[in-house]
Symmetry: C2
Subunit: 452 residues, 2 copies
């Protein structure tokens, strides 16, 4: 099953805490929110993704009989607690930003309201799911912004951090605006368009390039793409020009060539010239090989005649920012707002809402982070998605999410669309009511500290 659903995908301290909560009857309602504390220098906005998998995880939360037996035999926990785990299901409520929503620091993208043990147990895996897809969607969005109207394809399964990362990166980049992926399973599981031609090994396994091109063309005549950089890129482009008329006689059209190494700007210009001079004006050029958004921007600036890009490692590992500073924090327990005050890690207490305003040009103008029951102008970004452990309505399709993401990117203020680190920060205003609550929580905790 993709992705994995075992509740043992958790940190041991969660089970330790649950045992203590059960022993002491601490089963009151807890409110947790997941948010990013700070945006990294190279991210001026983030994009929410992974909610569908997070809700799948919650809706199906259940220890298997085998897992329960293993826990019991570990003798780490009381029998009563293991019995409790065997019966445990997620019965809580979830509000969230829909996938594809642009978000900023301190803005919760999901809120979980449930009896404390349930809300606590799911922390590790919920973060694991939401962090990764949001990380990749945010990275992919940068590429989509610098190379609009180019066909972007995820090539990064092999260096993604495991199978689930490869699969979920295909999903996250597609929803952010990529055209598709090379990962076959992503089509089967999510219906994402897949792309692929041949590897260098195919060329190497033949005695010469033309034989390799011809053999491939006859086996894979639909949307034929030939890889031309195994030995000498320009020589190979000339071979394609010589081969194309013979293939055409057999009813096979060369659609594109792929470059995977060397100076892609220079090579693409030379190859374009060779193809055009050879009457192959309709053959497009696709490039790959260690690309990231900075290289895409360089090729766009140089007007490299490249029609599409395969992006691998930099996308699926978010190589410049391989993790976000995010947290899933207790904001309220038993009706009382809570707050962590640890150095550098203080959080805003209570149940919150994010309100987004737009300018006359339709671009985002600013967000307000408020208490949920406060009313502010603008669009409320967190909406109900689960009640009593059940999803509300059918999930959006991946294409719905993709459309939402595209609208969000179109609404970004101009400075936030740029790659450079000096871009203006988006204003997120913390509402007065929230500041007042934080001060009130601090006074209460300080009073307990003295009495403690």
């Amino acid at each position: 099953m993709y992705p994995a659903t075992s509740p043992l995908l958790t940190d041991l301290y969660q089970l330790n805490m649950l045992q203590a909560y059960l022993d002491h009857g601490q089963m009151e309602t807890a409110v947790f929110e997941f948010f990013v504390r700070r945006l990294p220098g190279r991210r001026h906005f983030l994009m929410a993704a992974g909610l569908e998998q997070a809700l799948d995880f919650l809706e199906n939360l259940k220890f298997s009989n085998e897992e329960i037996d293993w826990l019991r035999h570990s003798k780490r926990f009381s029998n009563g607690f293991v019995d409790y785990l065997a019966r445990l299901r997620f019965t809580g409520d979830v509000d969230a930003m829909p996938e594809g929503t642009v978000f900023f620091e301190n803005e919760p993208i999901i809120r979980v309201i449930a009896p404390l043990p349930q809300a606590q147990l799911v922390e590790s895996r919920l973060i694991n799911i939401l962090h990764f897809q949001s990380l990749i969607a945010s990275k992919a969005a940068r590429m989509v912004l610098v190379a609009p109207r180019k066909q972007l394809v995820d090539f990064g399964l092999r260096r993604a951090h495991g199978a689930e990362a490869g699969l979920m990166a295909a999903r996250a980049s597609y929803l952010a605006g990529f055209a598709g992926t090379a990962t076959v399973l992503a089509q089967k599981e999510f219906g994402i368009p897949i792309f692929g031609t041949m590897a260098h090994s195919f060329i190497q396994a033949h005695d010469d390039e033309t034989s390799a091109f011809s053999a491939f063309a006859h086996s894979r005549p639909d949307h034929l793409v030939l890889l031309i950089d195994t030995y000498d890129t320009e020589a190979a482009a000339r071979k394609v020009v010589r081969l194309a008329p013979r293939l055409k006689e057999a009813g096979i059209i060369v659609r594109a060539v792929r470059l995977d190494s060397g100076d892609l700007i220079m090579l693409s210009k030379h190859v374009r010239r060779i193809l055009d001079d050879g009457g192959l004006q309709d053959v497009t050029i696709f490039a790959s090989g260690g690309l990231d958004e900075d290289e895409l921007a360089g090729m766009m600036d140089a007007n490299a005649p490249i029609d599409g890009f395969g992006v691998g490692t930099s996308l699926t590992t978010s190589s410049d920012v391989p993790a976000l500073d995010c947290a899933y924090k207790l904001q309220e327990y038993a009706g009382i707002a809570r707050r962590k005050r640890s150095a550098g890690k203080a959080t805003w207490p209570g149940r919150k809402q994010v309100w987004r305003s737009f300018g006359n040009d339709g671009r985002m103008a600013g967000d307000v982070l408020s208490l949920q029951d406060d009313r502010h102008t603008g669009e409320a970004l967190l909406i109900p998605v689960m009640r009593n452990g059940q999803r509300l309505g059918a999930p959006p399709t991946l294409d719905d999410i993709r459309n939402k993401a595209a609208r969000g990117l179109a609404q970004l203020p101009e400075p936030l669309r740029r790659l450079d680190e000096e871009a203006a920060r988006f204003p997120v205003i913390v509402a007065a009511g929230l500041i007042a609550l934080a001060e009130q929580v601090d006074r209460r905790t300080a009073a307990h500290d003295v009495a403690d």
Copy 2:
């Protein structure tokens, strides 16, 4: 099943190439090797890991009926080819460096010899498995080297790139010398020791810290660790001093306190003083919170009185180097050596062996990369592990692998043990016979290029 085994965890171009190989009867024996092209600046050595999962994947390679039906209904491939895939199993041979082996650039850590379609199909997932675990073992080894005799624990599930990444990072860091992990499933699947105490939310869910400590202690009395940085670390340490005698009356011993934020060097010294003055000399200090090997080195240099470290995101994402420049390349087909010559990506052709020499001090002195049939002095690092699709002998235990890794780290020359980027490079000599073969392959390909 962990990890995932679907053969659709592959790039589309693999299936495209396989269809063409089948159409043209290209089923001869192919030899592929997996290696890292260049070591990143912050890695002076790498550690091989993931072989067991790679062999599991090969031994169990099989399309499910559901996958075959899906492929057939996609109409992307010929029926004959889909029938071929339904019957496909891995019947090849594998030689490899055992897990835990230290390795360097251009050194193959695995060689696959099989009919071309089999060896090609598995490329994406083999790289995906071997790259990630080797990446994490190599990162973990740096931490083990800078903090010897400290208890290092993987805390990184939540920000690992998916469930499989979290689970495999626990395995890779354990084999490299970590004491264990917080990830519960890693104990169930791999028998790795697990560690865990409480989160800040536990403290926040109580009205005061002392009540939280007391409730936790009574529920989880074994190896009791208390988290003391939720509000004021030093004040909390004094609360532990006041609480400890009362717990002792109930037969409960406080074993450790954990710090998770702030200036860990200063705080650990102050907390050590508070605990010692309070008669708690046996209570150890455990630290966590955004640590990496540079911060570990800083704390070691400052003689911070910390006994163990929880390391999360920097470990499980290998955050400074989230991917290695690695490749799985065709080195021979139908008995003829092959080589890719693409700009900046040329590879050494043929079946290879790595020979490691040691100095009189027992430290590694240099490696020779040669053709497999060449004989050189030193230890031959690649050994047979699979023949005709079947593993040779029982797999080593994780503790065997851990011991091998520890021996390898002890044998590292001193400059390679340091974190800094200027450390001397380890000498890897390319043997004359291999250079001669590469030249011969280039002459043959050039001749074909002219004739082509």
